[in-house]
Symmetry: C2
Subunit: 596 residues, 2 copies
Amino acid sequence: MPQLISSKDMDFLLNTVFNAEELCQLPAYQEHDRTTFDSVLTTAERIATDYFLPHNAKADANEPQFDGERVSTIPEVKTAWQHFADSGLLSARHSYEDGGMQLPALVHSACMAYFTAANPSTAGYPFLTMAAANLINAFGNDEQKSRYLPAMFDGRSAGTMALTEPDVGSSLGDLTTKAIPHEDGSYRIKGQKMYISGGDQDITSNIIHLVIARIQGAPQGVKGISLFLVPKFITNEAGEPIQRNDVQLAGLLHKMGYRGTTSTVLSFGEKDDCHGYLIGEAGRGLSYMFKMMNEARIGVGLGAAVIGYRGYMESLDYARNRPQGRRPDEKDPQSKQINIIEHADVRRMLLAQKSYVEGSLALCMLAARLVDEHEAGGDEDSGRLLDLLTPVVKSFPSFYGPRANDLAIQVLGGAGYTREYPVEQCYRDNRLNPIHEGTHGIQSLDLLGRKLWQENGAGQKLLLKRIQKTMHAAGKHSELVELVGVYQKHINTLMQTTLALGSALQSGKLKEGLANSALYLDMMGKCIIAWLWLDMAEKAISTFASSESKEDTDFMAGKIQAARYFILWELPEVEHQAHLLTSFDRTCLDMQDNWF
Amino acid sequence: MPQLISSKDMDFLLNTVFNAEELCQLPAYQEHDRTTFDSVLTTAERIATDYFLPHNAKADANEPQFDGERVSTIPEVKTAWQHFADSGLLSARHSYEDGGMQLPALVHSACMAYFTAANPSTAGYPFLTMAAANLINAFGNDEQKSRYLPAMFDGRSAGTMALTEPDVGSSLGDLTTKAIPHEDGSYRIKGQKMYISGGDQDITSNIIHLVIARIQGAPQGVKGISLFLVPKFITNEAGEPIQRNDVQLAGLLHKMGYRGTTSTVLSFGEKDDCHGYLIGEAGRGLSYMFKMMNEARIGVGLGAAVIGYRGYMESLDYARNRPQGRRPDEKDPQSKQINIIEHADVRRMLLAQKSYVEGSLALCMLAARLVDEHEAGGDEDSGRLLDLLTPVVKSFPSFYGPRANDLAIQVLGGAGYTREYPVEQCYRDNRLNPIHEGTHGIQSLDLLGRKLWQENGAGQKLLLKRIQKTMHAAGKHSELVELVGVYQKHINTLMQTTLALGSALQSGKLKEGLANSALYLDMMGKCIIAWLWLDMAEKAISTFASSESKEDTDFMAGKIQAARYFILWELPEVEHQAHLLTSFDRTCLDMQDNWF
């Protein structure tokens, strides 16, 4: 069986490209070293392989059931959850005093990569729980933290994020769930939420929902939104569940993939007795949620990258072992068939996958490192760069990860289309990622309408500085000179395009400037991934060029070739996109409803 | 509920773009007129809507089951099959004397479009049966025709196409199934076939398998392959099943989509008593099969186009009725939300779908018309053009139909990812089409390695002549002048690329010339679809510009805008593809197994 993620590649990313050990210079991480990182990573890979992977297909084929009273999931999910909790990973990012291990986000993301690669559905439960716990930790008061966090750290409670309503998806400002102040200082929540992942299950003894709602009398729009903690079971002060709260599962939704994670419709306050507790200040709910959503967006990007990666590893393994056909210049039908990896078109499909998924994983790990630099290192510039990159971190892997999975199926042919092989499930699972935590459309508006221009474009400048540094380093290697030249041309195009769009937006042409934002998001994504490929190729050469191990030089050659592929085959598409953007093409804007 | 296929669009394609009535000038079709065409089309749409559509999701959720003895499918499939058979469509393409209706391929394809749009899985059974019957009719002897065809025409027997083996997929020349001559003049078949759609079922009382196998002692490679008729039940002279033949269902395969069609592993001759009957001459099996496969390839293209079309209609309907969000320049949170079709990015996703699926449907109907011109009209040039186009007819819709379905999901957002809406099934069903009847890789080699150069490039010249005619006509309309100019540039690029590749191949550089063939296939596809868009826009203007009906002028405006979208947004990507092709880029060719 192929690896979930190439261990050589993970080692390269963590230790060479993103130099995890360097983070140990930060006070928060000073008790760590490469040994502790390796050890937690090994544990994660082992638990993922032993307890998450084996039931991935089974959980897909046996979805959670709801009998009108209770949800039931296959027992393997609970076992996997318990192993995850016992490993300490649920609280690993938190401080020693809170019972955590002060693990850098970079290393923690690397750990999480294994779980999602092994089983995206089951990994969804800890992902959501950690995100919810982070939010409570950041904005909850001491009483809330001490009451709810211990159980979320040791696996007794799970967490959810309850934003969407049946009539409110992307436009969160329009939500209608109400919070009615109660004399005891808490609130009574009333409304319905939809597409809530993990909204009910039989894995944990309690579930902590983080719900956004509007306090009675609060203004319309985003400024009237507050954040509430709504437990499935009301707890005593020690956090032990003592009484069922008035939040009911109205039904399960049935998804194309991610079938092992419940997707729920939840009714809050059908009996007017749903207790909710305000987190932080009233009216700031959405800004709190966005903290969680930004982390969730990195998590979605990472998930999309590694589901893509999993399919790549499976299709590579298949291509290496499946004999079929002969070279175009081989005419003898008696000659031995070649393995399909020898066909140029199969290599194209594998190389494209490699460039998408390894590039995407690098991007997500960069984002995680920026979290560390910003949060543990106090580096505001890293925070600014992270802010700019977040829409791309969410969307590039979510777009190209499924493309990689599509190619993985194609490499397997008819076999790839059957559930007897794992790549079709990857394809279905990964299709969720371009949707949740903000669609591409939303991300592209966030990038082009907001992030690019914050603090006078500070993020842009930081990004360009890093890119220039990479180009300079890469330009010193003869293998990369051509690629640096090609890259230079296209990054210039990106800059000119950004300028043109910025002027239009500044002069108030909002509609025209934003109409083709999806193109800009893709263009920016390609330029960033191509930059990371230059960086990876440069670092591979610097590290391995003089190695005497063939494994090392092969690895290096692969990185160079994937950089070639991405920069020569994919990146140049930005020129056409730039043309449409800078000419403010009106084709989509002018299209009329009646014309369809 | 939205229509399966826009009836105005179907009418436009059939009667304006491809002028079905003109075919009635051919002797074979002279008893038809527009009224008979309309009548058969109305019947097809009605049966598709009443008997195929209602169980589409049910058949997907309730796959055929195999208990080790028998297969069972949900009863609705048999009912639908019976209605299809009773309509006369199974034999509609055949002559009056054979009990058919001498219906043109163009009109028949239009009929079939409704069935696949409604329910691809159930439509698979008649598709396969008609293809098998065509083959028997073309190459079988009189005894075979009179014994087997009547039951295939009235629905008592279904047909299959048994090519693939567990170790033999695309490389058919390597097949190992044996045919041993028997003293009674028939053969005994021995071997295993895989991925045989409809290989067993409980819908018809007999199944006629068309099996390729190697007669004992025949040469290796494709020249040793013969075609056999192998019935599930051996029949008497009247074609009635009298005795079980030695062909057994070894198991069912479980697919991502098309779940309602059985996909089977079949064992022939486990007891050394599988009777098979040679069709035509020994050693010519593959060339016969290719006749059927070419029709099957058009059928696959059509299926991919209309599954894409179905998703488009569903997402258009959703976008028109789902309020969410506001315009970028609307700041008042109290203002009414707009329907999502008003967002430029949603329009982009709908316009892209429209351009892919209406373009693909037009291409398939062009292919069907060429079949009529060639077979009923005896026009050899039409046959040459069809030969050239077939790889594109198979692959463009199969590539862009799923892309359309992907966009349809994206338009619906979270809802689109659930099985509560039909678009996710479209996405899964359509993923088969880039694989079966020859992958893109295979099609691209067929196009670039063979079809382009047949008879000194006669097909190319015919295509260019038609394209020039369209450009000339379109250039007369002010609305299209800009598009004709853009098109001219890109078609020139295609011609130059074709020349460069042709020279390389002629000078023996097979490996280099064919390495990036997938790019060429896509490039050619884009140029052909863009041509059809020019043609459709031109004919829409000619027909509707002076209409006083707003419905007509809206329809015309939509065609012009979709042509704009495809030509300005999608077509220009060929420039970059041409650059890679004409520079004989070696990135994929040079990649090594060990470097992955």
